[in-house]
Symmetry: C2
């Protein structure tokens, strides 16, 4: 572990938003607990990812900065790395499959990233990225399996713990495990009594199975609305989560949509599906958190609502009762 979380936070804080911690009387009544939602949907570029990306950029050598950074992502990490690189006048190259959604491509370009397309098969991305690294000597900034990304992600909990104190639990979503491992390390440093609970979609339960069986399972074609959580644990995030996270729980697609709906309707927060997963887990664990002080990281808010209602209106209506 390279730096204390306080130092990581000190380094990145001028580049990020200190996001609000929101509370809701309705949520507290419903859970009979005190809930504190860390609203990273209000973070720059709409998700916690900017924290890790800035931290990664700050830890490059002069030579690395001159050459530029690269990643493969069509999600929030692509936008975060592009924006963070622009803060330091570093070139960011983002490898995306040709069939990536237009809005994602445009958003990444708007933040200053150069998008390079690759084929649509799973291995095409890695191949193209390696090729470009060989050619241009770019530094790869992996979306989750990277120490600086992990430590940067942990600063959301640094802010949360400093603002709320004495939390019994913190719920965080798990995909590649950058946020969950970073959260667990920050919590270990700052608030040893706090248990960290990872929440994962049932339909993308590779992290749950990986921890249960003590080996990394790859995530294969997961069919979940939580598009930020379709990736697998890596050789850095896996052991951190195994050793520091209290447990991982699973939530259904319907539970994710219900949590989104609660956040929109009751708390007036626009969140993306992955961003509502921690609340879905918290609601599912209602019995065990009664009378406790509970944090949950609302990881992001980047969602095309028009698209969501076109595709998921059925689910939405069914979940209404």
């Amino acid at each position: 572990m390279p730096q204390k979380i306080e130092d990581v936070y000190g380094n990145i804080k001028q580049y990020i938003n200190k996001t609000p911690v929101m509370t809701s009387t309705t949520l507290n009544k419903l859970t009979e607990s005190s809930c504190f939602l860390k609203c990273e949907n209000f973070q720059k570029m709409g998700a916690f990812k900017i924290r890790g990306a800035v931290n990664a950029l700050l830890n490059l050598t002069k030579k690395q900065k001159d050459k530029g950074v690269i990643t493969h992502s069509s999600g929030n990490h692509a936008q975060a790395l592009s924006l963070a690189a622009s803060f330091f006048n570093v070139k960011a190259t983002i490898v995306m499959p040709e069939n990536a959604p237009k809005v994602k491509i445009e958003a990444t370009r708007n933040y200053g990233g150069e998008v390079i397309f690759c084929g649509n098969k799973p291995l095409d991305r890695e191949k193209k990225t390696e090729e470009l690294i060989k050619q241009h000597d770019y530094t790869l900034i992996h979306p989750s399996n990277n120490w600086n990304i992990i430590r940067g992600a942990g600063t959301a909990s640094y802010e949360l713990i400093h603002e709320t104190r004495d939390l019994d639990y913190i719920f965080a979503p798990v995909g590649g495990g950058g946020l969950l491992s970073g959260t667990s390390l920050a919590v270990k440093e700052l608030s040893e009594k706090t248990k960290v609970i990872g929440v994962e979609p049932e339909n993308a339960d590779d992290a749950f199975r990986s921890i249960r069986d003590n080996r990394i399972y790859p995530s294969t074609n997961p069919n979940t609305i939580a598009d930020g959580l379709r990736t697998s644990l890596g050789n850095i995030t896996f052991p951190i989560i195994r050793d520091n996270v209290h447990k991982i729980i699973l939530v259904s697609e319907e539970e994710i949509v219900k949590a989104m709906e609660f956040l929109w309707t009751r708390m007036k927060l626009v969140v993306e599906p992955s961003g509502a997963v921690s609340l879905a887990g918290l609601l599912k664990q209602k019995e065990s958190i009664r009378n406790k002080r509970v944090g949950a990281i609302i990881s992001g808010g980047n969602i095309d609502l028009t698209d969501f209602f076109a595709k998921f209106k059925g689910v939405e209506n069914n979940s209404k009762q």
Copy 2:
């Protein structure tokens, strides 16, 4: 004017949320100004209306409290009065047309209000309300044309001005004029340099015409998505607005939807159409607010998104570029 705004705020503050003032780099760039959005969508029951309702309840005599309060509304005021009355164990009767949306009826009942139905014709509500007042000696709390409602609504600007200071403009929506008149009086007391601008839907432009011609025009069957702004000025709100508001500007339905979309997409805020009207006005006045410090009151967030996308998806898609 019965009380100083500071005293009104002192009386009600323990019953309401101090809502956040949100900013956006994108919005500031777009307008070349510094914008401060007072987010009353995060207020109790989802709109500024609770401020006036609590203030009205606090100013009742013991006898009035014992008898109970009444209003006719199927919108946010119905819920606000029900919730405020519940704080003080006062009975609240809400007269609604038989064809009021089920969600509104349920929400009002959830806050403790008793819903009494009347016919669907415009005059049926007043008739039924008068009948019930005669029968039970209830006190009528009008949604806007009431001094305590007006002064309570003004406390949103009390908070906004204390948090941001030195505002050149405050934009507020206008329907019945409770919020706009309350805003203008609070601003007059607290920050004389600040100009208050009312924003009204083109399709419900009765306040605009009333001020222009110096007489109150009733609002007749206005066809606007901003359902909170379909009412008319009253004999109390009209002269306050005439004498203290810098001007009223009009916005189109498309401009309202675009402002909602901006708030959802860029700022991750769920707002109702009426709540986005002030931002629509601010964006329309871009030229004249350049380099200024500008507040806007986002009045509420009570919207059924599923319903919105079912009805307005066409508008939404058209307004996307």
